[in-house]
Subunit: 317 residues, 2 copies
């Protein structure tokens, strides 16, 4: 564990992501406990030896007493209700979240007047499964974890969040909320939409087509196995950015379509796709070493570094 | 090995797929050798201990003498040249192919008057890599292998092809050429097109977006790492069927787009995609046991069984 002060962590919502944070925090030595609203989820976590309860008031009272870092791990549609409870029972705790969009969460945090110690977060990891049963302590190992550097962010809660993410095995990508949301629309929400469309178009070929399907279809539709409710909860709060990404994609596909119809070729798409996949494969994640939380302009400097592909792998430079 | 007669196999083109057929055939005990036009490819295969030559005349003369099963393993644009050589040097050998489309290959085979002992084939396996170096004897293990049952197909070469595919570890999906091509447009060629578009749309978010990309983007763009020339060689000979599949996809995506713009929701797509991916995941591949090559109406009956999801796992029922 990278820090020894203020090391309690309280996870609100112990599904795939929140549950994995709880497991990873315990594994890293943090005093950690959690809340889940479903009795089934509570039983599952307890039977695995984790301290999870469905009594939100007790869970948050303990957090307030310990100055625990609160980690909101519920889907976007449930965030508002959780923040109401936080405001009531633990309004002064440092607060982060692992929700798939950042601007809507930040707006909800502001509405509940909880911004003072809030830092947005988003670990870029997951599976098509959901719920506590799918959670694992190693889910974030080697993954990017977006950490908010929005104007007004304070260094003290930021360090708490950064330490937890690093202790979960991730590296940090500093980013402001709106840029995060536009980015994940393209690399997380759009892939879900395309996977759904591919699943439907493939099945349009009947059992013969599905019976011939191999790796390209299996991988291309993998995230379509995510429950439809969860896909909506992930994508729809980011509809404006997703719409922009989808419109870009429709332009590319329409150009390929017109080229196929005109002369039977894919046009520019095959070369462009190969080249951009190669850019992704060879992307250099350079390490930010010279910016320290609390320094002059640290938020602006971290934001700029994140835009240029910079990541944080340790805090003790 | 399932058969003991006529067990020589000659592979023409020893890239990823042809090379893997050669490796698997040798592993299954067939007397096997191959042709590759590139000196580099020949050296690579020879240094791995395989009998591969760039002398097409000698390779085919040996095949003619041994009544070897010829396996055409070159991309569609190179098929015509190979068939010219086959017609010259080994016109009476049983002939199959592992090319990604079937109707254009069948047309080329007819043009070269080689239809008498031809049976189309297509193992549904591959990786984003290409060339001999990527070939493995286990590539077809547990994979579907489409085997042609077009009108006029003769039982004797059909059994040769079926035995080889089974001995490579595959199960057989009987299908006629045009239905195969429409099916693979949806489950193989369309996934390539969507992967390319996703790679480009994702990279449109810059290094920040690519740096946050995780499993959904990685899997959704995996086949965009296939060389652009190979993608064109796979997709473009099937442009009419691909156009139909792409138009279906554009209708789905436009509906989602309009729904996002109108009320911020994905509309019907999330439920439909989940449901069809589940259909794929739970597809039952039932075993055809009561149709024997050469029986009355065997081709029609195998075609009908294949349409309904039937597969062949052994020949000795």
């Amino acid at each position: 564990m990278t820090g020894d002060r203020n090391s309690a962590v309280c996870v609100l919502g112990t599904g795939l992501i929140g549950g994995s944070v709880l497991r990873a925090a315990v594994a890293a030595g943090y005093e950690s406990w959690g809340f889940n609203r479903s009795a089934t989820g509570v039983r599952a976590a307890r039977s695995d030896g984790f301290d999870v309860s469905d009594d939100i008031e007790a869970v948050l009272a303990r957090a307030a007493a310990a100055d625990a870092l609160l980690v909101v791990g519920v889907p976007m549609p449930a965030v508002d209700a959780i923040l109401s409870d936080v405001k009531l029972f633990a309004p002064d705790c440092p607060l982060t979240d692992v929700v798939s969009v950042k601007a809507p969460v930040a707006a909800a945090v502001r509405a509940h007047e909880l911004s003072a110690r809030y830092v947005g977060g988003h670990p870029m990891a997951g599976t098509a499964e959901s719920g506590w049963a799918a959670s694992t302590p190693g889910l974030f190992e080697g993954a990017a974890w977006a950490v908010g550097v929005d104007p007004g962010t304070r260094a003290e809660p930021w360090m708490r969040v950064a330490r937890l993410a690093l202790d979960c095995g991730s590296y940090l990508v500093p980013v402001v909320a709106e840029e995060h949301d536009r980015a994940v629309a393209r690399i997380s929400h759009l892939p879900h939409v395309l996977a759904e469309a591919l699943a439907v178009a493939g099945a349009g070929g009947g059992d013969l087509a599905l019976g011939l399907a191999a790796g390209s279809f299996r991988d291309g539709t993998r995230v379509a196995a995510t429950s439809a409710d969860l896909v909506r909860a992930i994508c729809e709060p980011n509809s404006a950015a997703l719409l922009e990404a989808l419109d870009d994609t429709l332009r590319l596909l329409n150009a390929a379509r017109d080229s196929l119809a005109a002369d039977g070729t894919l046009g520019e798409l095959a070369d462009a796709g190969y080249s951009e996949r190669d850019r992704y494969d060879t992307l250099e994640r350079w390490e930010i070493t010279d910016i320290h939380p609390g320094d002059h302009d640290w938020l602006d400097r971290l934001r700029d570094a994140g835009r240029r592909g910079g990541v944080i792998r340790r805090l003790d430079h």
